[in-house]
Amino acid sequence: MPVPDDRKQQPKTTADAKIPGAYEGETVTRRRFMTASAHTAGGIATAAFTLPALGMAFGPVFEKEQVRWEAVGPTEDFPDDTYIPRTITLSPGIGEVGKSTVYVRRYNDTIDSEVKDEYNDYVAITSRCMHLGCPVRYVEASERFICPCHGGVYDREGKVSGGPPVRPLDRFYTRVRDGIVEVGPRYSLNSELRRFSPRDPGQAIDGVGQYLYPSRPSIRKLPGT
């Protein structure tokens, strides 16, 4: 048996509600309509300056960075058993601040476990520690990359051999043009040296990490690598 609806029946029109000055068939009072219009107008006006301003602040998150290739020296400069430090520009137009050190050497079958392809005839390793981004230094005597901040240590392939870093040192794509080695965009590696779109320091890629720290629209690995 259906329960009878004993709620008070809402009047459909303002005339039914016996509001003074009601027009026939009017369902919303003019006062309510004006209030709603004023609030809507205010909302639109606020959104008109807030949304573009926020878009400006958040735009760079979605803007893709240009792929740049930078010459670091002729091929004969780089041996295959030790690293040569070179300075490259990560962010152009801001002087010294935009520069960074990369460690470059020729690919060596007996050392390297990264799969060989057209982009790693020369191995270019970043000096950015994968713990929190301090600058690491390659120490020839111990064949290790060592970070001064919190004691991160990497072997000569850039794999973590001690300390807090969460993944191997990032690398840069390299290519050879007219006998000159060029360094391109950065990419990240998991502990098996498989390539991933570049992550920030401190973000693990192994296991669930690659989903917890998704790649960003602003910077991706080269397609097909």
């Binding site: 998150v61 962010s91 601040v97 929190l132 301090c134 320091p201 917890l212 720290y213």
Partner: protein, 265 residues
């Protein structure tokens, strides 16, 4: 309400009383006093500010109120000091990646009192963080966060976070080696938050690398966005303090009036 002299009597509004001839003994002082009083009366008649001021300043406070209760005001004065010194530092500072360091060097070494004002801003920021934690500890140990003051605790926590955000964004501005690397590390720490972290660090840097607009972004957040929010939050914090009153220290026993006391025999 104080009696307003300009509206008393039968004179029409806005006309001046002509009777108050100053006594010959101290005419100067009386005239000054009168000018001051009439100025304040003029303002008060149009704004009723004195009522608000009285509501804010002449509050009842519980027995046992002591020096620990001044930590909040101390924090606020630390903020005011940061705001004032910051405004004047901004007159010499240049938030561009190539010129920031040089402008800070200039304002520290060449500008009259520049080193002193910058020192106040630099050390004052540490003082403010210490004071805010002491104020928080006082509130916690005195139980002053309990009903009905929970919302004020929440606002206080927001103010603490905003203050730490001020410290973080301000640290980059001198743009020396220490600031650059500290910010690199700090942004990377932000990036370790799961899911949103990578986007948050891109937002802070305005891109995937520390770039041309990162410094300007930190500067705008440091000197425009955060101080505005902090000032508004301090206003809300103070309003609630005045509205709800302060708590007695926990060692003061509540005394109810004898007629309200129940006979517990």
């Amino acid at each position: 309400m104080a009696k307003l002299p300009t509206t008393s009597g039968t004179r029409p509004r806005g006309t001046r009383a002509e009777t108050t001839e100053a006594p010959a003994t101290a005419p100067q002082r009386n005239k000054l006093q009168e000018t001051g009083v009439s100025t304040i009366d003029w303002l008060d008649e149009r704004t009723s500010l004195s009522a608000g001021a009285r509501w804010m300043m002449f509050r009842k406070i519980p027995k046992g109120t002591n020096w620990f209760y001044t930590l909040g005001s101390a924090t606020m004065f630390a903020f005011l000091s940061q705001a004032v010194t910051g405004v004047f530092l901004a007159m010499y500072y240049d938030p561009s990646a190539t010129r920031a360091y040089e402008s800070v060097r200039f304002l520290t070494n060449e500008v009259f009192l520049g080193e002193f004002v910058r020192g106040m801003h630099k050390w004052g920021s540490t003082v403010m963080v210490i004071l805010i934690f002491l104020h928080m500890a006082r509130t916690f140990f005195f139980g002053a966060y309990k009903y009905p003051r929970e919302l004020n605790w929440v606002i206080g926590v927001v103010l603490l976070i905003l203050t730490l955000a001020m410290s973080f964004t301000g640290y980059l501005l001198p743009f020396d080696q220490r600031s650059y690397w500290a910010t690199t590390v700090g942004v990377a720490i932000n990036g370790t938050g799961p899911l949103v972290g990578p986007y948050l660090s891109d937002f802070l840097r305005a891109g995937p690398e520390f770039g041309a607009t990162t410094l300007a972004r930190f500067y705008a957040i440091h000197m425009l966005l955060l101080p505005g929010i902090i000032a508004a939050m301090i206003g809300a914090h103070l309003y609630l303090v005045a509205r709800l009153g302060t708590t007695a220290p926990p060692w003061i026993r509540a005394e109810s009036s004898p007629e309200l006391r129940e006979d517990s025999k």
